[in-house]
C-alpha cells in the first residue's frame, strides 16, 4: 500500500465516521448558517449586500466552520484512542495528516456550498463570473485545511485546545482569508483578472502549506 492509498484510506475512514455520526458536519453547517444570518443582520441589508462585505462575512463563517469540523474530527479520534493505532503504522503520521486534510476539505466543501446558496439567496447577490467564483471557492476550501489540521494536531492533547486552535491558526490563515474574500468579491463584481490572481495565490498557499505539513508532521507528533 503506497502513501496515497494510506491517505485515502484514512480519508474514507473519516468520511465513514462522519456519515455514521454527522455531528461535526451538522454543527458546522448550523453554525455557518447562523453566523451568515447574524453577521448580515448586524451589518444591515444595505451593507451586507456589498460584494466585499458579503464575501468577508461568508469566508469568516467558513473559517470558523473549518476549525469546528477539524476539532470534532480529532475529538472522535481521542474518544477511543483510535489515533494511536494510526500513528504506530508505517507512514501513519503522513497518512493521518493527508487523510484528514482530504476528508475535512470534502466536508467543508459541502458546508461551503450550502452556505453559498444561503448567502446568494438571502442577500440576493448578483454573480457576474460564476466560473471564477467556483474556482475561488474550490481553491479557498483547499487552502484552509492544511493549516487547520496541522495546528489541531499540534494542540491535540493541550489544555484549552478549543481556544488554542483558532488563536494559532487564524493569524497564519490571514493571507488565505484575504485572498478568498478579495477573489470572491472580484468574481461577484466581474473583475476576471483579479479573481484569477487571488485564485493563484490560494493555489500557492494550499500547495506550500500542504507540502510543509507533510514534511513537518512526522517530527511534530510525539
Amino acid at each position: 500500500m503506497n502513501a496515497l492509498d494510506r491517505a485515502l484510506l484514512v480519508a474514507a475512514r473519516e468520511l465513514a465516521a462522519e456519515r455514521r455520526r454527522p455531528d461535526g458536519f451538522v454543527a458546522a453547517l448550523t453554525f455557518t448558517a447562523l453566523l451568515v444570518l447574524m453577521e448580515s443582520l448586524a451589518f444591515g441589508p444595505g451593507q451586507a449586500r456589498q460584494p466585499g462585505v458579503a464575501s468577508a462575512l461568508y469566508w469568516i463563517a467558513i473559517l470558523f466552520a473549518a476549525t469546528l469540523v477539524a476539532t470534532r474530527s480529532f475529538d472522535r479520534e481521542l474518544e477511543d484512542d483510535a489515533i494511536d493505532a494510526v500513528l504506530v503504522l508505517d507512514g501513519g503520521r503522513e497518512a493521518l495528516y493527508a487523510g484528514k486534510v482530504i476528508a475535512i476539505a470534502i466536508v467543508l466543501a459541502i458546508v461551503a456550498l450550502a452556505a453559498a446558496v444561503l448567502s446568494l439567496v438571502l442577500l440576493d447577490l448578483g454573480v457576474a463570473l460564476a466560473g471564477h467564483l467556483v474556482l475561488v471557492g474550490v481553491l479557498g476550501i483547499l487552502a484552509l485545511p492544511p493549516v487547520i489540521v496541522l495546528v489541531t494536531l499540534l494542540a491535540l492533547r493541550v489544555r484549552a485546545r478549543v481556544a488554542l486552535v483558532p488563536i494559532l491558526s487564524f493569524p497564519i490563515l490571514m493571507p488565505q482569508l484575504v485572498a478568498c474574500t478579495q477573489g470572491a468579491a472580484a468574481a461577484l463584481t466581474g473583475d476576471a483578472s483579479a479573481a484569477l490572481g487571488w485564485a493563484g495565490i490560494l493555489a500557492a498557499f494550499a500547495l506550500v502549506y500542504g507540502v510543509l505539513g507533510l514534511t513537518i508532521v512526522p517530527a511534530a507528533i510525539e
Binding site: I167, L168, E222
Partner: protein, 233 residues
C-alpha cells in the same frame, strides 16, 4: 528527555560586557537621535521617532527569524539549547513587536491624524504579534518539555512566513504607510546621510540590547531546564 550537555551561551565572561556595550551604544544612539541628526524638513522633530521605530521593526523580524532557525535546530537535533534560544527570542520578539506597534501608533497620531488605521502594514504587524503571543500561549499550556518544544517549534517554523508578508504588505496592497526606507529592492536607503548614520547606530544599539536580553533569557531557561531535570532525578 532533557540532556544537560549544552553549554550556556554566551559564556559568563561575555554576557556582562554585552550588556555594558548595549547600554553604551544606546547612549550614543540617543544623543545622535535627539541632538546630532538634523530636523526633517517636512515632519519637523516628530520624525525622530524613526530612530526607535525602525530598529524595533528590524528586531521584530530578527527575533522571529531566530525563532525559526532555533525551531529548525530543535526539530533536527532535539538539543534543549535550541528550545531555550527559541523561547528567549520569541519573548524578546513579542516585547519588541509590542513596542514597535506602540511607537508606530505614537508616530501616526501627529502625521496621519489617528492612533490606528486599517492599513495593511499595521494589520499584518498586529497579526504577527498575535501569532507569537499564541506561540507563547501554546508553550505555557504544555507541561511535558519535549512535547512543548516540538509543538512550539512547528509553529515557529510555519509562522516565519508572516515576516515577508509584513514587510512587503506596503508594496502588495494600497497602503497609507510609507514604502520601505532601508530594506528596499533596487536602491540605497532613501535617507539623508546624517539621518542614515544615526539610524544605523540606533539599529546597532537596539540589536545589542536584543542580544543582551537574549543571552540573559537563555541563561534563565537553561537553568530552569536543569532544575526540572534535577527535580525529576
Amino acid at each position: 528527555m532533557i540532556e544537560t550537555t549544552a553549554a550556556p551561551f554566551p559564556t559568563i565572561r561575555v554576557r556582562p560586557w554585552l550588556g555594558r556595550l548595549a547600554v553604551a551604544t544606546s547612549l550614543i544612539a540617543t544623543f545622535m537621535a535627539l541632538v546630532w541628526a538634523p530636523t526633517d524638513a517636512v515632519q519637523g522633530d516628530v520624525y525622530r521617532i524613526i530612530y526607535v521605530h525602525v530598529p524595533l521593526a528590524w528586531l521584530a523580524y530578527l527575533a522571529f527569524f531566530v525563532v525559526f532557525l532555533a525551531s529548525l535546530g530543535w526539530l533536527l537535533t532535539r538539543r534543549p539549547w535550541f528550545d531555550a534560544l527559541a523561547i528567549a527570542s520569541a519573548e524578546v520578539g513579542v516585547l519588541f513587536t509590542g513596542m514597535f506597534i506602540v511607537a508606530g501608533s505614537i508616530w501616526a497620531k501627529p502625521t496621519w491624524g489617528v492612533w490606528w488605521t486599517w492599513d495593511p502594514r499595521l494589520v499584518t504587524t498586529a497579526v504577527m504579534f498575535m501569532m507569537y503571543v499564541g506561540y507563547l500561549l501554546l508553550r505555557s499550556l504544555s507541561t511535558d518539555f519535549s512535547r512543548r518544544a516540538t509543538r512550539a517549534a512547528v509553529i515557529g517554523v510555519i509562522a516565519v512566513i508572516d515576516i515577508p508578508i509584513v514587510h512587503l504588505s506596503v508594496l502588495w496592497m494600497n497602503s497609507l504607510h510609507q514604502l520601505p526606507t532601508v530594506l528596499r529592492a533596487g536602491g540605497s536607503p532613501s535617507l539623508d546621510a546624517a539621518m542614515g548614520t544615526t539610524l544605523g547606530i540606533s539599529v546597532i544599539a537596539f540589536t545589542l540590547v536584543y542580544f543582551a536580553f537574549l543571552a540573559e533569557r537563555i541563561s534563565i531557561e537553561l537553568d530552569r531546564q536543569r532544575r526540572t531535570l534535577e527535580a525529576r532525578a
